[in-house]
Structures are given as C-alpha cells and as structure tokens.
Symmetry: C2
Subunit: 180 residues, 2 copies
C-alpha cells in the first residue's frame, strides 16, 4: 500500500524545518504530489511534582497567535538521544532535573505533512536546579494539580495536542483510568 517516490525537491532548508516536495506514484498507478515538512523529531515531558502536581509552561506561539499552556517539550538536536534531550529540556524550560523518565508513548503530530515524531515521557523524582532558557524563549512555569489540568482540557483551556495526550496517558499510568 506504499507510495513510490518518483522525484523530490528541497524547497527550503531552515533552522529547524526543511520543506520538500515529492512526486509519488500511488498503488493505483496515479501520480500525485506530497508537500512534506522534514523535522528532526521532538520530546515532551509530563513533569510530576510532589502532591500530584504537574508543571506546565505558558508561552506565546506565533503560529497560534496566542499564548498556549503546554507540557514542556523540545526539538532533538542532531544525533541527540531523546532521553538526554528530555532531561536537558526539563532543566532549560522548567528548571527541574528528572530522576526518572518513563516512556509513555511515541506519536506523529501531523503525519499528513510532517515527519515530526514526538516521544513522550513521564518525568518523576524532580529536583529543582533553576530554569535556563534559550535566548529566544519566553516561558512562564505554572504548577497545578493533575486533576485541575485535566479539567482545563475538558473546558478548552488547554489546546495543544501533545499536552492533551500527555495528561491523558499520565493520568492513566498513575491509575486514573484502570489498566495501564
């Protein structure tokens, strides 16, 4: 059921993204064009604090045009191990070092046009070491009960796919919804 790539062209290679256009042949023999964003992949973490709290980040997202409330996340550097990336991003974005990073899931965010694969972790045994933001990041940290965070999902106050996935799977892992 695959698609045979007939030709590809790199349209733009930027700081994070590369846009490519592929001409492909479908199993039916018909040809079509696919516009694909190549992305190095990313990690996202549900940071579990004492007392059933979770640490979230608020940042302005130009693509959304608003501030969004999200779990911490980051893009893989070239050749970087995802767990190391998760550990680094937790320190940078929220200022906590993780004693353990349990894999929760791996998923594509927009497989119709983006190669980005997101690896999701439950971060536990967190130790405060102080936030170390990149120069172009403006991030505020919010700590709240997991149950309150899930309430925000229900009321439309959290509008980010990886964050909804992360909270749902973390709540399940922690026994919120039966077998895990």
């Amino acid at each position: 059921m695959g698609e045979r790539v007939l030709s590809s062209e790199s349209i733009y290679k930027g700081r994070i993204l590369e846009l490519k256009v592929f001409d492909v042949e479908l199993p039916s023999g018909r040809e079509t064009r696919r516009e694909i964003v190549e992305h190095p992949g990313a990690v996202a973490m549900v940071p579990l604090l004492d007392g059933g709290k979770v640490a979230l980040v608020i940042q302005f997202r130009l693509a959304a045009g608003v501030e969004l409330l999200e779990i911490p996340a980051g893009t893989l550097r070239r050749g970087e191990d995802p767990v190391e990336c998760a550990r680094r991003e937790l320190i940078e974005e929220i200022g906590y070092e993780a004693g353990s990073l349990e894999p929760l899931a791996e998923f594509f965010l927009a497989p119709g046009y983006s190669t980005e694969l997101m690896r999701l972790y439950l971060a536990r045994d967190l130790r405060r070491v102080g936030q170390r933001l990149d120069a172009d990041e403006q991030i505020r940290v919010v700590e709240m009960d997991m149950a309150d965070a899930w309430g925000l999902v229900e009321r439309g106050g959290i509008r980010d796919a990886k964050t909804i996935v992360g909270l749902a799977l973390a709540l399940q892992r922690l026994g919120g919804r039966g077998s895990a």
Copy 2:
C-alpha cells in the same frame, strides 16, 4: 508576552501548505526568526458505531514512512464550515453519514511551527452510505471496540496524536473516566 512581527516572507505556496518565514522582535528586544507552516485547519472525527465500536482508517503516510491507524480526518476547504467538512470527510473516508457531530475539543497539533488547528467531533447516529475516496487517497476502514482501540494506544499500535486525543476524549465523554 507576544512577538512583534518585523517582516515576513512567503517561501512556498503549495496545494495545502504555505511556508512563511517571520522576523520577530521578542519582548526582551532581541530579534529572532520563526519558520511557520500556514495550514487551512482540519477536522477529525471519532465515529461511534453500534455496540461500542469505532471506525478507524489505515493509510500509508509518506511523512511517517509507514501505514498508520487513525481516526478519519480531513483538511478544511477554503471557507468551509468545520461541521460540514466533518460530515463530508466521514462519507468520503469511511462511507457513513453522521446524524450528530458533537464537538469534543479544538487543539493545535504543532504550535511551534504550524498554524493547523484541529477540530475534533464525536460522530453518532451513523448511517452507511458508501465510501467516496479522493483519487489520491488509499484508505482501508477498520471497525473495532473502543476498548480495543485504547488498548492499541497503550501498546504503541496507534501512533497519531489526534487519534490518541480523540479516543481519550470520546471514552471520557461516554463515561469511561468520570466527570465529563
């Protein structure tokens, strides 16, 4: 906390995506560049069949390099009402007409670089009318118990963000996890 756009350039305008590069000024006064994919927005539907079953689709995704198991979804046409788009895509992809489409959530898929906003619906009162695929779509439909679909999420057999969000919120709406 916003970012002031200093200039923008359209790099590529394709069939679905437009890639733009923005030079922005951060609140700190520092300048940086944002690579943004402009997307018309999309819909995704959790189609609830008789007996607690859900209809999923399997399709090869060039960006993922594999076939993925997903809930039905589609891109908004210019000026199209999202509910009408959801109704149309359900007929095209799985061959069911929906008697009701309840909003479950709205979320960004990759707000770091994509404007795509996904609107998610629970589709009920489904009536079989026959699949009507676009010429460049090769889609197989799979019907399974919601509980089995969630089991696939847990075991890594479903690796698509909107599908995990859709199943989690549909299960909750249907009473799978307390207050909704």
